[in-house]
């Protein structure tokens, strides 16, 4: 996949470039926002990895530019030095598809990039979807863990499927509510939290089982798949 990287610090740009190239992606680094915008006018990229703070244009501004000027804007992963959750939500609400806080763990960065690409360019098949030990039978609406059936309600099944299909991706509350409950608004805000809580406990989505379900500050939830050490499991794309 062709990935554009915006990063004004060349050491960090080189590190990201090296990491993503190692995963088989074709990367092109840009030092300024203007250079990136100029490239976006004549070239096509499958994914943008943007630094929040570059001197001339912020990552958020470039997201705005792509939304306004490109018919099919590519997904955007924001790299941010901002440790403050409030800023992260601002970026997500502005249109970023996901974010990674610097310094990024290589596995995390790779997993998020893979998730975004999988989402944007899906390759789906069959009535059964398997995620490690978890097997979702869509026709029967049944989940099994290592062939042990787990009793889920229809909403819990739908919610779990959404989370697993978007592993490593931050899903907004609105997205989850619409995907599972449909466009029927005015649910108590606790409804989603309660269902997430039950999915977490029923499906045992805990680090010791290789999955971690984390809330994204006042935005939504993200399901992460971990390796045996508790680090994010980077998937080959």
């Amino acid at each position: 996949m062709r990935i554009a990287i915006l990063e004004d610090d060349d050491v960090q740009a080189a590190a990201v470039n090296q990491l993503l190239a190692g995963a088989g992606h074709a990367c092109q680094p840009f030092m300024t926002g203007r250079a990136l915008v100029a490239a976006l006018r004549r070239d096509t990229f499958d994914l943008l990895v943007l630094d929040w703070n570059v001197p001339d244009m912020s990552g958020v501004e470039i997201i705005g530019w792509t939304r306004r000027n490109m018919p099919a804007p590519p997904p955007v992963l924001l790299l941010t030095s901002r440790a403050d959750e409030g800023d992260v939500v601002t970026a997500l609400n502005a249109g970023a598809d996901d974010y990674v806080t610097k310094p990024a763990q290589p596995s995390v960065l790779l997993a998020r990039v893979a998730a975004l690409l999988r989402r944007a360019y899906p390759d789906r098949g069959g009535g059964v979807e398997t995620f490690g030990a978890y097997r979702f039978n869509l026709a029967a609406q049944v989940v099994t863990i290592d062939d042990e059936p787990i009793a889920l309600t229809a909403k819990e099944f739908g919610l779990a499927l959404q989370l697993f299909r978007n592993t490593h991706r931050a899903l907004s509350r609105t997205h989850l509510l619409e995907a599972v409950w449909g466009r029927n608004p005015d649910l108590p805000s606790r409804t989603l939290d309660m269902h997430v809580s039950r999915v977490r406990s029923k499906l045992r989505l805990r680090p010791e089982n290789g999955f971690r379900l984390t809330p994204v500050y006042s935005y939504g939830y993200r399901l992460e798949r971990l390796d045996g050490d508790g680090d994010t499991l980077a998937e080959a794309s």
Partner: protein, 759 residues
Amino acid sequence: MAALSSIVLLLAVLGGAATRLDNLFYDAMTRLSARPPSADIVVVAIDNRSIAEIGRWPWPRSEHATLLRRLAEAKPRAVAYDVLLVDPDRDPAVDADLAAAVALTPTLLPASFDVPGRDGAPYEIALPVRPLRAAAAGVGHVNVAFDADGVVRRAFLSQHAGDQEWPHLMELMARQTGGGPSPTWRAARPPAAAPDTPPGIVRTRPVMVAYGARPGDIRTVSFVDLMRGETPAEVLRDRLVLVGATADGLGDRYATPLSGGEEVMPGVEMQANLLDTLLSGRAVRPLDRTPLALFALAPLWVVLAGFLVLRPRANLALGLAVAAVVLIGSGLLLVFGRIWAPPAATLVALALVLPLWSWRRLEASSAFMTTELRRFAAEPDVLPTGAATARPAGEVIAQQMDLMEAALEQARDLRRFLHDVIQGLPDATVVLAADGKVLVANRAAENLFAAIAGRAPVGETLDHLAAALTPQPAADGEVETEATAPDGRTFVVRRTPLLTARGGRAGEIVRYADVTSLKAAGRQREDILQLLTHDMRSPQVSILALLDNHPVAPDLSTRLRGYARRTLDLADDFVHLSRAETASLTTEPVDMVEVALDALDDLWPQSQAKSLMVNGPDADTPLLVAGDRGLLTRTLINLLDNAIKYTEPGGRITCDVRLDESRSPPRVVCTIADTGRGMPPEEAAQVFERFRRARGEANRGVSGAGLGLAFVQTVVQRHGGAITCESRPGEGTRFEIVLPRLDQPDEPEPESDSLAALG
């Protein structure tokens, strides 16, 4: 007061207390309405000339007989011979002769009621001598009724003595013309008891005599002229003839309403007037008790009712008008209705009630004003200087004026005070009236609106004035809003309703606080945080990236990484703490069990790496608090991170969330305990201070900036909770967070739609 005055008036009217005044009025009206007597009445007067020519009184009875014969020749209709002929003459023949003369014409004779009578009897009736009585057409009484002032206004047409009723001589006379009893006789109802009567005698059928003739007005013929045949017969023919004495010193004389207290009227003329009254039917009838009481009370009641609804001025006019109506009404009734309704008592009552009532009114309003003023003076004064009011002394009115002056002074001071306070406020402040228009504006407000609206604010509506201000979206329920002026200044607008003493809406105070410099300070802080988050972090990130991708001696690489990480953590902790202290909390229902799970999951790699045994919460129901999930999660992460750092591999960490129902109200308690190295109590007491880290040789190499626990404490306190730390060296540390539980009865029920899932 109304009842009292009514009773007094009633007693006065029925008891005749104002009779003298009434009599004056009656006499005046009588004089006004006097009219010549009927020509049918002729008086044959025993006058001075007759006495002079015939001789000294009493005359021989033969003289009377002669006169009666002369009269009979002239053929009058009837004769009333008002001369007492009660003692028999020495010669019975004389009486017989006189009786024969009496019989020639229908002649009526008077009887006398002597009081007291003989031998101790209360009275004695002296009748004409027997032959005369037999010859006469009738015998009547001639008693007169004096009023208290000695004036004769009334006559009683009937007098009962024992079983016998004696009509008045003139009533009998009147019957001679019409046959039956006169209409006046029939109309006059007998009173229960007439005053001033001797016992045994009952006078009934009172009549007010309608005097028409002044003394001498009646056609009069001299006795001696008639006797000598010098009077033409036509003068007497078919007339009603009264014979009586008018000579000085002879017969009876009475004061009448016509006499005006100077002249007196001979009895015979008075009788003539009575006869005229009876013949003409112009008798005046006194009002009966009930109508009399009504006539007296009604005007009083009208005036009293007027007091209730009218202003004092109108009241006076009403009182005067009613008095005039009473007086004129009484006069008209007397002259045209021939009814006597005495007005004086009512007039007197009115004259008394008007000033009395006015006095009561004044008294009441004065008392009310004094009470109110005293209450006002007793109210706590907002102004400390107003306390120097001396006790009122001196005369009552002077006291009231002092009180009034003090109250006014206080009001003036208060107004001044209010003005100064508003003027002295540092922020632009306007006071709105209930209609939304600006009532008062201080100097700062005048300057502000002169700058943004170009006009003075007083009298304008606020919407008009503030049109140039751009309001900022406000959070729900905030009383303060922000607005930006065209010149870039930012104002916090606060509207406070004003209430009247009774709780009604009197207006509003609107304050514009200039927060431009505060905003600038806020922006400066943002800039510092921005510097910390990005500009300080970025080089550290680059260092870490360089270490990842370049060969460095492993020992050096680890130490460089450590320092870079510490710098990053310091920046992060500083930003977090700063946000926790200043950012507004966005609270939502948060399940602390989930928060604990989130924190444990976040640190799972670290606890895993140290092979620590981690016990998570085992509560199976949500324990809700109202809070910021991100801040609360980071709080527990910080505590757990500390626990992991200071616990040796193989140790145990417990993170429990439970509901403490022993407290009231129940609290959510979150405990994080480790079996780490612990610390002495004096150190535990200071763990929440900034930049404080566990000291000592053993702790060297443990990363951390010392802001983590300060953050924890800040967040817990901002959530209305409390945090405590217990620690013992070598045994471990235990943090306990106590948060208020959120009562949320509408926790959504788990959906039981598994059946739908199967279908």
